[in-house]
Symmetry: C2
Amino acid sequence: MAALSNLKITNHQITLVDQVEEKLLDYFRVMKLKPGDSIPKEQELADALGVGRSVLREALSRLRMFGLVETRTRRGMILTEPSILGGMKRVILPRILGDEALFDLLGFRVALEIGICELVYNNLNDKHLEDLENIVNRGVVFNYGEYTPVSEYEFHTKLYEITGNKTIMEFQEVIRPVSVFLKEKFKAYFLPVNMEIEKTGKRVTHMDLLDLLKKKDKKGFSQAMVKHFAPYYSFLRKKNHSNGNN
Amino acid sequence: MAALSNLKITNHQITLVDQVEEKLLDYFRVMKLKPGDSIPKEQELADALGVGRSVLREALSRLRMFGLVETRTRRGMILTEPSILGGMKRVILPRILGDEALFDLLGFRVALEIGICELVYNNLNDKHLEDLENIVNRGVVFNYGEYTPVSEYEFHTKLYEITGNKTIMEFQEVIRPVSVFLKEKFKAYFLPVNMEIEKTGKRVTHMDLLDLLKKKDKKGFSQAMVKHFAPYYSFLRKKNHSNGNN
DNA sequence: TTATCCTATTTGTCTGACAAATATAAAATA
DNA sequence: TATTTTATATTTGTCAGACAAATAGGATAA
């Protein structure tokens, strides 16, 4: 049923701070507080929860981190609208995350990028096409038909931007280091794949994608995007990569 | 260029805790620490950074929250592999997030769900088909051809599961409250849309999706998924929804 | 050699203190 | 009286010290 119930097997014992954090979030929920609403001062909260101010502050520190609460001296604390991916940003440290997590993130990114095709197509206007054209025209290919990281970045960032979805845009920024890191770490895999694609002329270029958008060919665009990401799909399908240090 | 550079305009002044948090993350990066590696004890870190132990602990509390560090009494602290979406889980509080953020999350979810089609298709095996069949067979429709939340949940969760991507699965769990909340809040929008779909016989059912998977019709499956989510797309296209309180 | 106990160390928590900032009240000025 | 300035009180940010609980590692006993 709940396939993910094993995610919360926290080995380390639950500390007071954890409990207070939970209690605070519950408090916000129960009181139906909204951004802008003020919450009691530290001492009051600490007393109400029966903990020291330091414990309360450690819990508050967590909530402050993703902008769920804001405090100004003497003015008390107010609830604010949190940054959804703010927390994620901090823990995306490719050198600390294990390969499995990194692969999952790459798969996540690729899936999302395919998934936005519909949104891109729905939102597309002439200004977007013009911008994309400029990006494609100044795009630089550096070896075996691969785009430079900057060109690649500009083009796909523009696609995200066209969706008009800020969370998706932010996600792209957060997850970029992972793609860059994996491409570098496993270049022994990607290089020959790219050479093969180049040789067989099967590459889907940014220009191709743009042309399909210009032609208002929705299905063609979606399918071309899938092809464009083919190297990643084949990479992810082979789960047993060596460490890339050969 | 950097379309998101305005994300960090933090109004509130940067506190010592924020700085220490940054310094700690830098320290991990620079020292190339990996999960399992131990880090200096609190007092040493505090002294090294020239701050009190309480400030250091507030920063550590944040890192502990996503499982980036773990501490055991007397045994010191060790780095651990963080939970990528752990932070996100905490701030997805539909009643606190604004409508724009909620819409963005819904769009994110729909895009991702469309995007996983390729991964689902790639990973699909007979056991998966059997499981899906069971889920579809015991699925319950409750009004105007709409599935009950449980049936809907089971089917789509299974699709996520087939991808074999833990981050994607976890994401589904995190974001579910948003879909549920929005569907309830804006049922005045969704109800007539669903009635219309039912009347015109254009509904793509879970059975339809399963049949396409059985037939190994990849393109058909992807396109059917887009149709299956049509109500959401049309909902998101109309940005100026009233508060749903009419 | 193995099992048990002791001690020192480290984290978790509490309390009290003070500086900095500022909302509010009080006082001074036009 | 209305407005500006000043003073006070309050609240957060930070530090320091204390102690309990847990336990690693050594000392001691079997």
